[in-house]
Symmetry: C2
């Protein structure tokens, strides 16, 4: 079969890869219905993270179960399933408290931009939908595999409650779905920080009530203006740079909450500044598995449509163009069809 | 009148100071019943914080109201009162959400090691006890002015709940009272990290169930041993150094909570490490005012006796010895009688 392999900076190739097979009795093989390119894939693609050797890519997936190992009991061939980018046993102490992305046996799923995918710990990782979904629903189900679950975790970690004033830092797919999550959780006001027209539009469609185009100190000043000088109750940090993190912390009211899900790159927090900011800080790799049953229900009942973040659809063999379009911000998120 | 003045490294003097008077109509003057030396006073005393000029000292106090300004309505001369080290109006948006130590009009109370003290924003800052207390209760009421409220905030910020497993990093007065707070909040297991016998004893008296004498990585390994490899639900950081902060974060389970109240000195948190630690982080200068009514009730009904942290009592004119004894760790906390 052929799949995506990253060779180095801005060099992603569609080439022959081994067909995955059951290695452990807890594995499953799924036939990918759709996969996609993640904002976090751009870190190595842009050379920010080193790529020491040719690396198969992709960690977002949904599809039909093709085969299961002998120990798998809860998932059957023919079912349509979704899983997180972290495989998890869903039984260890970390999983039991809802942190499946810190599962004691977590394995990163990293070869999803391909027609077939091996999933370790299938019972703990995969969640089946009630039935095989109609085609139009599939992009929204795919979004649950990472970006929707991650946006939801950001909002949850930022303690969004009915009536909250929320700021979203970052207008990538995760930030946009953070706005959608905040709306679902009952936020009264959702301020999206974005300077890209198409993203602003989608943010508004997802529930943003205000758009702030300024960044850094000017962005913080604008948030303070909009919140009577106090700052927001909840701020979702969906980028992962020093600037975005400081922007998030400084936009939060005393005693407010920062939910951070942007993978930090070069972020250092000064203890004293953090101390006097009086914010709550929580984040990390989103425990997507925790939210899958709830989010599948919301998509299945058509209450949310996170698949709207896919504004470019390509056949999988054009994966290189999919990366390029996101790198150049021509696309928010690229959906790939094997 | 005479009070404590810090001149520089290990040079605290008892000398003539101006008698405080009402400056603003919202002020009160109180006659100090007892005051004390704080662990945080040791930072400038040890030369860690610079002392650019002779500085009156002391921020913990309780006593009898002597005089109030014309705008003060809730406090009357003759009442016994306690206040936080941060004066607050208790009405601004930050106060309303319980962060009085970040009051928009906060003033640090910094001249309490003296017979008389001016309190700004008296209505918002001071809380009167039901009556003038008996002498034996006064040390416990004094403790509410900072260390007890700070330990309580650490436990609250660390989300201590009935049944929690709690670690306390730091065996100063705040750490010890953090253990007492965790006990009051229903913690099942309280692990105090301490290598000083007298402090271990008091920690146990306050509710600690285990003592860990190791520090740093060895300390973390010991906590992991004691918690089936998982880490604690709640960790109270009551020191403020890089080592203690990392010890706290690393001792916390995935999804657990770190409440940090040690004033950070040179602490830098690596964003990526924090991200993958999956902990909740909250802290800052304790909003002692928020907790005063509740804590006064607990002391008044003799349910808690935080005054036990005072293991040295001196007349105020021996304040220099009070600092020395704490600096040399001969005393946990020095109570001073004007």
């Amino acid at each position: 079969m052929r799949g995506a392999v990253l060779y180095g900076r801005r060099d992603v190739r569609f080439e022959e890869r081994d067909v995955p097979t059951i290695i452990k009795p807890t594995d499953a093989i799924i036939k990918i219905s759709v996969t996609c390119v993640c904002g976090s894939d751009l870190w190595p693609y842009r050379g920010v993270n080193p790529v020491p050797e040719p690396t198969p890519m992709g960690h977002e997936y949904c599809g039909i179960v093709e085969e299961v190992g002998s120990a798998v009991t809860s998932i059957k061939p023919g079912q349509f399933v979704i899983g997180s980018f972290f495989a998890s046993d869903n039984t260890c102490p970390n999983c039991q408290v809802g942190y499946q992305s810190s599962c004691q046996h977590a394995e990163f799923v990293s070869t999803a931009q391909a027609p077939l995918l091996r999933i370790p710990l299938a019972d703990g990782t995969l969640v089946a939908t009630p039935d095989v979904p109609s085609d139009d629903m599939v992009p929204s189900l795919l979004a649950l595999s990472d970006v929707m679950g991650t946006g939801w975790f950001a909002a949850d970690a930022a303690n969004v409650k009915p009536g909250s004033t929320v700021v979203v830092v970052g207008d990538g797919a995760v930030g946009l779905l953070g706005a959608l999550s905040a709306k679902q959780m009952g936020a009264k006001r959702i301020i999206a920080m974005s300077r890209h027209e198409s993203r602003q539009k989608l943010a508004r469609e997802f529930g943003a009530t205000d758009i702030v185009t300024e960044r850094g100190d000017k962005g913080v000043a604008r948030i303070k203006d909009l919140t009577k000088g106090i700052g927001a109750d909840s701020v979702l940090e969906c980028v992962g740079t020093q600037e975005s993190m400081m922007q998030a912390i400084s936009s939060t009211r005393k005693g407010g909450y920062v939910g951070y899900v942007g993978v930090p790159h070069g972020v250092e927090l000064n203890g004293e500044n953090l101390f006097y900011s009086h914010v709550h800080l929580h984040g990390g790799p989103a425990p997507v598995r925790r939210y899958l049953p709830e989010l599948i229900k919301l998509v299945w009942s058509r209450k949310i449509n996170p698949g709207k973040v896919f504004d470019l659809t390509l056949p999988l063999d054009q994966v290189a163009e999919g990366y390029r379009a996101m790198d150049e911000r021509r696309a928010i998120k690229t959906l790939l069809r094997p």
